[in-house]
Subunit: 200 residues, 2 copies
Amino acid sequence: MATTTLDMSISLDGFVAGPHVSNDNGLGDGGTRLHEWLLGPDGSFDDRRLGDLEPADREVYAEMMSTGAVIAGRGTFEPAQGWGGDHHDGVPIFIISRHPAPPEYADMTRVTYTPDVRAAVGQARAAAGERGVLVHGAGVAPRLLAVGELDEIQLHVVPVLLGQGRRLFDDLPAAQVELELVRAQPGREALHVRYRVRKG
Amino acid sequence: MATTTLDMSISLDGFVAGPHVSNDNGLGDGGTRLHEWLLGPDGSFDDRRLGDLEPADREVYAEMMSTGAVIAGRGTFEPAQGWGGDHHDGVPIFIISRHPAPPEYADMTRVTYTPDVRAAVGQARAAAGERGVLVHGAGVAPRLLAVGELDEIQLHVVPVLLGQGRRLFDDLPAAQVELELVRAQPGREALHVRYRVRKG
């Protein structure tokens, strides 16, 4: 069965975005700092730059781009303008949302808005087949965890303290979720850590 | 000059203690989980066990125990009964506190309560000489950071999500503090990461 992997860039103090996140400011104030390890200081992505990445950075990026489906929340998807309807390679995108798709996203053929977490995961796993499922977003992570559908957590830990902003883990019940460290690999700047979620 | 190093065991979601921290429950509910990498599941420390630690765990523990002074907050010191007045090897202990020492700690000859962060750091560095200064506590860390007196951050990242509890970084202003990864080393269970604080 396809593995679901939460994939997030995060500051050492646990923020995945700076303060004042909005649809026009999806990463919050200063949040582009968290993606410099991949995008460079200007925050724009240029495929030719990929060859300049260090091996560890290139490897985790290639893994991300080899997944066969994407699950995200509106808070990730919409500020990114729905990735133009295609995150990578035309794989299906499932957006967990209580609300139907806004008009600008309703016509994107690869995108499905659904309030049903389990259904979204089931469809994403089926679509991914042998490949993995990429999970993006601080909002969807606890929802997958809560229903036992999050298999792995991969964090790109950026060597910075942001102090304020949006936390990745901010909405969990007080219950110990045991993990297992699968990999810890320093890139040029970010430390890439991958954990398996232990299911009781 | 002696290096000040914040040293904390922390869950992947950023907690250094579980919920309901009090003087009788210094690590909060379930917080002993964060120290199992060193203390074992029973939470008691037995020097003979030290030989059973894996090399990476033993190394970071030995580093901690080779420091020449300790700086902590009351919230760390008092629930630990003041370490019986001796954290290790009789090195001086500085407790950052607006209040004078409670009677049970006032007579501890190695312990100094002081409200003055800079003075405490200055005295600790002087006492440590060639050795390092061990900094303990979620409360004191931001205070040292704020005055530019925190040189390093060492975290023992435990593979667990606690969901709720006391965060290490919960009280920082919205200002990017740049760090540099010095070391990332997996132990038997915890991932030991050490960062240098970059000073502007």
